[in-house]
């Protein structure tokens, strides 16, 4: 009896692990798309609205869903805070702080890290160039992430169930 319960638990765990992997794969392209949208909004705020950076970041991040919204909100809060931090430090800290909750990978992190060095420190034209570059890089990542999701998304689900079944078989 105990063995039967154990087997059921193993099968359940395997299935769940597979689903979790597949979900992470599906969340990544969605979050990259959100990042892209936010950066494009930031570009508009900076290039046409001449909005100060803190306000621009806050309004660019407002329509997003968690956890990507947290990056923008975190950076904006730090910029307005009393810490005397540079825009670069504020952005880096916000990215570090919110990163664990996202499904994003190292490639996206590198894009955001590069963006930190140019955020707010140059004229409008230059800001646009840097934001456009970041958006273009993220778009490439998004294509790749969507492709991975298409190819491996369902595979992970079945793999989870099958791995659970394999363990059950081995157990008996």
């Amino acid at each position: 009896m105990l063995k039967l319960i154990g087997a059921a638990l193993l099968l359940f765990a395997g299935t769940m692990a597979g689903f979790a992997q597949s979900l992470a794969l599906a969340r990544r392209p969605r979050q990259i798309r959100e990042l892209i949208q936010a950066l494009q909004r930031l570009e508009t705020e900076i290039a046409y609205g001449m909005t100060p950076l803190a306000e621009a970041l806050a309004s660019a991040g407002r329509p997003l869903s968690e956890p990507v919204a947290r990056i923008f909100r975190g950076a904006a809060d730090r910029l307005l805070g009393p810490g005397q931090l540079t825009a670069e430090a504020c952005w880096q800290q916000a990215v570090e702080e919110s990163w664990a909750g996202t499904a994003l990978r190292e490639a996206e992190r590198e894009v955001l890290r590069q963006l930190a060095y140019s955020l707010g420190v140059s004229d409008r034209e230059d800001q646009r160039q840097h934001l456009k570059l970041a958006v273009a890089q993220l778009q490439a990542e998004e294509t790749e992430a969507a492709e991975q999701n298409r190819r491996f998304g369902s595979m992970w689900k079945s793999l989870g169930v099958l791995a659970g079944a394999l363990l059950v078989v081995l157990m008996y």
């Binding site: 950076l53 005397q84 540079t86 707010g120 420190v121």
Partner: protein, 342 residues
């Protein structure tokens, strides 16, 4: 006063400047930050270098040398992390700070079609500390008053940089708009409507349109507006008796000044020049002086820290004060007598 600027300084500079002795800190007029070169401060006209621990020194070796990072952080903090919102100011080579302070900038100019589009790689900062000095213009005011005290003469204040022009003009705005006249002035001045065009936010140091310096109860300030355009706007819409602006010199400024003169509005303006002859060599000022736009031209000089009138000229360029007489009491009689024809 130094506290208001230390907030924007990167940590090494802040720690050096906050350790200056209190008496020294109270006298600082300029803080000069140049990448890789010694940190310098100006106390009135004396220059000193500053060590990392806030000790004044004359040795360039012992002084703190701001790094590239210091300059980068300083620009970031000065612009509230948004350099792109300050492009117009960067083009003109300065940034206005809250509190009326101004930061002059040096760096690499980006030129487009022969005009400066922007400053990049900014490596030189001159933090000029604005100080409100009520009464700075009291000694000068008597020379500017019309006979009977009904109003004020159109006046041009001349001086080289850092002789207190802006301090004087700010206090003039306050005195003219308050009326009554300061202690020691026999003629009573009727309060006047004063309009200030404050292109660089130095005169009134407006925060969200409200002056933070006392510029008088009947003073309107047009903040951050180009002078020529601002003068025309104020003439048309605010019916001022007196129009005040700092550092004129562009051709379009002359048009606006003449427009004001023809509209019966008095102007009180400043310009950079070492003497009346210097001023006459500048095309815009020469045109205004030849047209007789100014009933008074004052040459300002700083003596023992206080701005005083070193020479006073009438509309025709004739000197009104007895040459060399520097005491205000001695000159006020001369100004009264000499001003009869204006």
């Amino acid at each position: 006063m130094l506290e208001s600027i230390t907030a924007v300084l990167p940590p090494p500079l802040r720690s050096a400047l906050t350790r200056l002795p209190a008496q020294t800190a109270a006298l600082v007029e300029e803080v000069r930050i140049r990448e890789g070169r010694p940190l310098e401060i100006y106390l009135a006209e004396d220059s000193s270098f500053v060590t990392p621990t806030g000790v004044l020194t004359s040795s360039a070796e012992a002084a703190y040398r701001p790094t590239r990072d210091d300059c980068r952080i300083l620009l970031d903090l000065l612009t509230e992390h948004s350099v792109y919102t300050r492009e117009e100011e960067l083009k003109k080579g300065y940034l206005a700070m809250a509190g009326g302070h101004r930061v002059g900038l040096a760096g690499r100019a980006v030129v487009e079609q022969g005009k400066v589009k922007l400053l990049r790689d900014i490596a030189g900062f001159n933090l000029r500390i604005a100080r409100e000095w009520k009464g700075a213009a009291e000694a000068i005011l008597p020379y500017l008053l019309e006979e009977g005290g009904a109003g004020v003469h159109s006046t041009l204040l001349l001086s080289p940089p850092q002789q207190g022009k802006t301090t004087v003009i700010r206090d003039l705005a306050r005195l003219l708009s308050s009326g009554g006249g300061p202690a020691g002035v026999s003629r009573r001045l009727a309060p006047l409507k004063v309009a200030v065009v404050d292109e660089r936010s130095e005169i009134a140091a407006c925060v969200r349109g409200v002056p933070t310096f006392d510029v008088g109860p009947r003073t309107d300030v047009l903040d951050g507006c180009p002078k020529a355009e601002g003068m025309m706007m104020m003439i048309r819409s605010l019916s001022p008796h007196v129009l005040i602006a700092d550092e004129i010199g562009r051709p379009e400024d002359a048009e606006a000044v003449l427009e004001a003169a023809h509209a019966g509005i008095r102007v009180v303006l400043t310009a950079h020049a070492g003497s009346l002859e210097d001023a006459k060599r500048r095309p815009v000022l020469r045109r205004l002086l030849e047209d007789g736009a100014f009933a008074r031209t004052l040459l300002l000089r700083r003596t023992r820290g206080a701005p005083t009138a070193a020479a006073i000229y009438g509309r025709d360029g004739r000197r009104l004060d007895p040459a060399g007489a520097a005491s205000p009491a001695g000159m006020s009689g001369a100004a009264g007598g000499g001003g009869a024809r204006c």
